[in-house]
Each structure stands twice: as structure tokens, then as C-alpha cells.
């Protein structure tokens, strides 16, 4: 633990130079490769305006599209959005119904645009049978449609729980009869859903909440967290750029060791 390398060194080392985007001026840390957003504050946004909670969710749509566009033009290669957790099923059933309907509309509305921008979309979680079949079909279709795209990869965590993923990976190891000694971080990570996803570099959580909330637990191990008081429906491209800037100012140390980055660079 005492060997503390300078971070700018580790980031610009030759081994990583090709997988990480080169820094703007070559001086400081580059653009985070993988950014994740926990979209928080829709309900409060609506409450502040004395509107029903559902209108907060509706207002979130604009932000989602804005952030995708901002991330893409900033050169982020992987963007993950935390849309709906396994715990969210406990919300009132009309709100859940509304959310399902809204997501379906948003997916369909923006599918051609996302495809045209070369964004590869996929959905993390999406295993619960409570998800309506037509919505699951739309998720499937969007995944199929954009599967060959080589631009940014957008992972939407829908009905996702970080612990659930870890338990699933453990189960698959046990099922395959892998001996205990043979289990390594790498072999474990390879059994998580979408094993090609690299570790998260930056997590943005809006509305001032400072929790992990069971989100991509394995992948956020070394992530930098930026908490912004802005509510998600008010969050815009400018805020996103600001968060990235904050990240760039930070000194990432990875506990003093070079980071083991999950996943392989995509061709």
C-alpha cells in the first residue's frame, strides 16, 4: 500500500494509452472511459412543483437524451444509466405501470436517433417476468438494431441489482464446478453480465443523495463519485461536462496499485 504511483503516470502509460482516450492536452487525466449516472430526484423535482411524481419521470426523458449526447461528444466510450432497480418494484403499482409505459415510449421514440448516432444499446438486468412482454421485445429490438454499432456503448440498467449479479456469477462458478482455488477476480468478473464492460471510472449521482444503492457493485470498485445537488430532470449537458471536469481534477490512486480494468478493448 505504500507504493503510491502518480496517477497521471499510470493513465498515460503505454499499456493504457490505446485503451484510454488520450488526454486533451496530454497534461492531466483524460476523459473517463466509463461513466455511470444514477438518475435521482425525479420525485422531488415534481414535488417542488406540486406536480404528480409521474411528471418528474416524464421530465427525466429530456435529461437522458441530453446526457447521452453530451457523453458521446465528450468522447466517453461507455455510458451506463441506472434506470430502475430491483427494489423499485416495491413502488406503488400505478407508478410502476407508468414507468414501464414511459420507458417503452422513450425507447421507441429515440431508437432511430440512437442507431443513427452509432450508439450501441443494451440492457442490464431485464430478467424479471414482471417486465411487460412488449417492453422486453422493444429492449430486444433496440439491442438487435444497434448491436453492430461501434460508437459509444450505452448500458441501461433496468431492473438491475448489483448483489444479484454477483450472486449469479457465483452460482455459475459453482455450477461449472470451478475449484475454489481457481476462482480469481478475473474469472469471477468474466461471469458477470456483459463481461466486456470495463470498470466504471466516474459515477454521477444527482439530487445530493450519497449512496450506492446496489448499483453495479463490482464495477464501481475504483470509481470516482461526483455528487451533484442538481435534480435529475434539471441536469443538463453543462452539468455533465462539469462533473467530468471535477473528475479530471481528482487524483486517482487505485489504492496504490495499477487498476485491473475489466473487459477487453473493443475492436
Amino acid at each position: 500500500m505504500q507504493v503510491e504511483k502518480d496517477v497521471s503516470d499510470s493513465v498515460s502509460s503505454p499499456a493504457q494509452a490505446d485503451s484510454r482516450r488520450p488526454v486533451g492536452q496530454g497534461q492531466r487525466r483524460g476523459i473517463p472511459r466509463h461513466v455511470a449516472c444514477v438518475m435521482d430526484g425525479n420525485g422531488r423535482w415534481a414535488a417542488q412543483r406540486s406536480l404528480p411524481r409521474t411528471s418528474g419521470h416524464r421530465a427525466a426523458e429530456t435529461t437522458v437524451i441530453d446526457v447521452i449526447e453530451a457523453a458521446r461528444s465528450a468522447g466517453v466510450e461507455w455510458l451506463s444509466l441506472y434506470a430502475f432497480s430491483t427494489e423499485n418494484w416495491r413502488r406503488p403499482s400505478d407508478e410502476v405501470d407508468f414507468l414501464m409505459h414511459l420507458v417503452r415510449r422513450v425507447v421507441r421514440k429515440h431508437a432511430p436517433l440512437l442507431h443513427a448516432r452509432g450508439v450501441r444499446c443494451r440492457f442490464l438486468g431485464v430478467s424479471d417476468s414482471k417486465i411487460p412482454a412488449p417492453l422486453a421485445q422493444d429492449f430486444d429490438d433496440l439491442t438487435t438494431l444497434t448491436g453492430a454499432n461501434r460508437g459509444m456503448t450505452l448500458t441501461v440498467a433496468f431492473d438491475h441489482g448489483g448483489r444479484g449479479d454477483i450472486v449469479e456469477a457465483a452460482r455459475s462458478l459453482i455450477r461449472q464446478g470451478v475449484p475454489a482455488d481457481a476462482v480469481t477476480e478475473e474469472s469471477f468478473a468474466a461471469r458477470l453480465p456483459f463481461p466486456d464492460t470495463p470498470d466504471v471510472d466516474l459515477v454521477i449521482r444527482t439530487s445530493g443523495e450519497q449512496r450506492i444503492s446496489n448499483f453495479m457493485l463490482w464495477q464501481v470498485a475504483y470509481a470516482e463519485w461526483v455528487f451533484t445537488p442538481v435534480l435529475w430532470p434539471d441536469f443538463r449537458a453543462a452539468h455533465f461536462v462539469e462533473c467530468v471536469h471535477t473528475y479530471q481534477q481528482r487524483d486517482r490512486r487505485f489504492g496504490g496499485v495499477a487498476p485491473a480494468v475489466n473487459g477487453v478493448p473493443r475492436p
Partner: protein
Amino acid sequence: MTTNTQPDSSGSETTADQAFAQQNPHIDADPSLFGPGSQFHRLMNDPRWALAMVRATVLEAAHPQIGAALIDNSTFVAHPWRRLHNTFLSLQRMSDADDHVRQREAARLNRLHARLNGIGAHNQPYDAMDPQVRAWVVATLFESAVTMGRLGGQPLEQSAMERLYAEFQGYLAALGDKAGHLPPTLREFWQYYDRVVQEELENTEALRIILYKLFDHLPAPAVLEGMPTIWATGRALAGPVIGAITVASLPEPFRRRAGLPEIPGAQTLMQSAYLGVGLARFLPEGWIRADALASLLSLSPESDDPRARTISAVRDGIKRAGALLRLITPLPAQPDPADTTETQRSAEDFFHAVLDQTGDGYLDWPDLAAMAREISGRLDLEEPQETRLYNAYADWWKELQAALDSDGDGRICAEEFAAAVPALAGPALIKVADVLFDVTDADGNQSIDADEYRALFRTGFRRDMAATGSMYSRGEFVKDFLSFMSGRQRSTTYDPLLTQA
């Protein structure tokens, strides 16, 4: 309905063949009757032949005996593409230049036909070995080939027509039927043909099913599975067109008698279709061949055939187009997409996808016979293995009937099946698995190697199997077969074999 499950092989075919050969020395004496230079061969490479075959099938179905046999036994409603492929393959073998190939195929067809007899609905007895019936099948093929030329604006010359007729006579002779059932000369043939059309053909149930049900509900060929939207859209357009074209090309006296509709413009449409498809002949050689197309359509996308990879690439493109189309279409009124990714299927699904091969909604002997037929066709079985396989299936049928036919009507419906699924894996089914292993294991070394596996499933070993050693033992084979047949487990290998359209 009674069906003969224990046919005795007809030993008289060689003598009939010889007698015919003596009668018609010019046919059998001419070794070049078949093979690359023949009219028959030219026919097989003509894209219009596909249209003509559909027409011939309709004319066959209009024959009361053939119609009854089709209704009872044929898989053409549930598995039209597989059947089309098998028919092309058979015709191709029957016109092979090699005498041995022809004789083998003729013997196979004879065994197959000998199993098709019984009494159909409306007490219509049928027997696929009836020489009159077989003569009519050949007559429709010949007449459709001639008509194809006429409608396409390129009528056959008299000499070519004579030669083609001789070839079809040779076809019938190879099957061992006496020549007498097909008139000796072309002139007499037309009299015979007109008489049958005028007097014997009827508006049979099989005819109506082909014209009005099959074309409108044609299942997607295997290569296009997973794209139901695209297929349904194309079919909604193409189905009625094919139907109209076929009806318009039928002989006028028959259309009148059967009360088939006269659709305005259908004649023109039909002639343009024959003409247009005929123009495809001017494409470079090998671009369009009816038989290649037929085998393509019955190709399973998971197959490791090199063509399958090209198709996969095209499929991916079409899939993406389909996905985009679905995403941008305004929200439909809650469609219910079938969930095909699950490994378990419901008893009802299994009943319709696997067991009910003839697609009539009941499980009956012809359904199991169709499975045995498909398997023995794929493995190119000869006697006595073929009979062993059929017998195993027949025993299984008796077991099923005893266990599941609760209302005693002699056949099993989907509800009866669903109610008794656990009883399915009885000793007779295990016997089927055993026999299937034996006949697949062509060299009898008690394990199935990659080539034997490919013969049955038309694809190589799965990757995980290739890794564990390239053999498939009896125990594993029987286990997989039983888990597919009784556990209703989906299987990437058995599904293409038994469920594909």
C-alpha cells in the same frame, strides 16, 4: 381410419420392371435418357419449375385418392419447406445419370408409398401403390412441365415433348409400374389426361387446403425464422398471388367443374409470372436453380453449412431492419410475442411443434410415420433398418394410444396429451431412441462420429461436444433424445430435425 403399419415389401417390382423393359426397349436401352443432357435435367434447372410443381401438386390433390392420402399423411401443411426439399431431392435422384442411384431411390419411394394406404375421411380408400394413382402423379408433372413452357411463351417443340414424355415414362418404369397406366404415345396421353381432368378430378378437401389455407398460412422457412413480421408481411402479399396464379394456370374444364373463382386479371398475372420467372434463366448459370433454392429454404440457420453463414449475415441485416421496423411502427394493440428463448416449452407447444407433423390438430399414426419417414430419408436408410425404425415408431404409437387416448377415438388431441405428459417416457419410446441410435450409427461401432451425426442433424457436433472427444455414446444419445421427447426440452439439434417447416 385404418392404416397399414406393417407393409410387406413388394417383391414383384423387378419382374414388372423387366416386363416393361421388354415392352419398351428404347427406354431402358438408352443410357442417356437421364443425366445432364436430358429434358428432365433442363427442367430441374428452370426457375419456372417451382411454379409448375405447385400447379402439379394442386392437380394431384384434386384426385380423390391422392387427396385423401395427402389429408391423412402428408406433412405439407405443417412442414411445406421440408417436403419441398425432399421432393426435389427425390426427383433429382430419379433422374440421375447413374442407374444405381435411380434404382435405390425407386426402391425407397416404393417402400415409402407401400406404407401409405388406408381409408380417409368420407370413406375414400387410398393406396399410394395403386398404379393408376402413380401414373396420375407422373402425368401431372409432365403436363405441368409442358404447360410451363406454353405459359412462359416458349412451348416445347414436338420432339422435345416426345423426349420429355419418354423420360417421364422411364421414371414410372423405374418405380416398377407397368407402362400400361401411362399411355404409350403422346397423342394418347392427351386423351387420357383430358379424360381424367374431366371425369375424375374433384374439388377435394386437400385441394381447398392447398389453395386457401396453405398459401395464406405458409410457415416461414427455417432460414427466416425469428423474423415473423417480415415473413407475415411478405406472405400477406405473396400468398394470394401464388394462389391466383396457380388457379389461373389450371385446365379450364377443371376450374369450371370445381367451381374455382375466375379472378379478373389473374390470367394476365399468371402469364406474366411465368414469363418473368422464365427470364431469370438468362441470369448467369447457377444463379437461380430451383433445387438449390429448395435446399436453401430448408437449411437450418444453426447448420455449419458455409451457405448458412452467408445467410446468417443477411439474416442479421434483415433482423436489424425488422427490429427497426417494429420500433418505429406506432404502438400496436398489444401483440403477444411468442417466447422462443425459454428452454422448456409447454406441453401444448410441444404437441403442435413436434408431434403433430401433419398439422391437423391430432396425434395419429401418420404423424409418427412422418417422423420415421423424415429420419429414414435423412439417413438414407435401406431395408431392414428402415422397417426396424418404422416398427419402433409403431410400437411407440401403440404405447401412446394405450396411455393417452382417454376418449377412445383412436387419436390423441392436444388436451389428452397435456393431461398425461409424465407418462410419455415409456419403454417403447426408449426403444425408439435405441433404434434411432443403431440406424444413425452407420458403421456399427457403438458411437456416433461427426459424419454420422451430420447425416441425421445436418450440422456438426456442438462445440462443447467436440471438446469432450468427438464421439457420441449410446447413453448420451438416448438421454438427449428422451429429454427432448419427454422433458420437452428445447434442443438446437432436434428442433431443426422435427419442428422445422
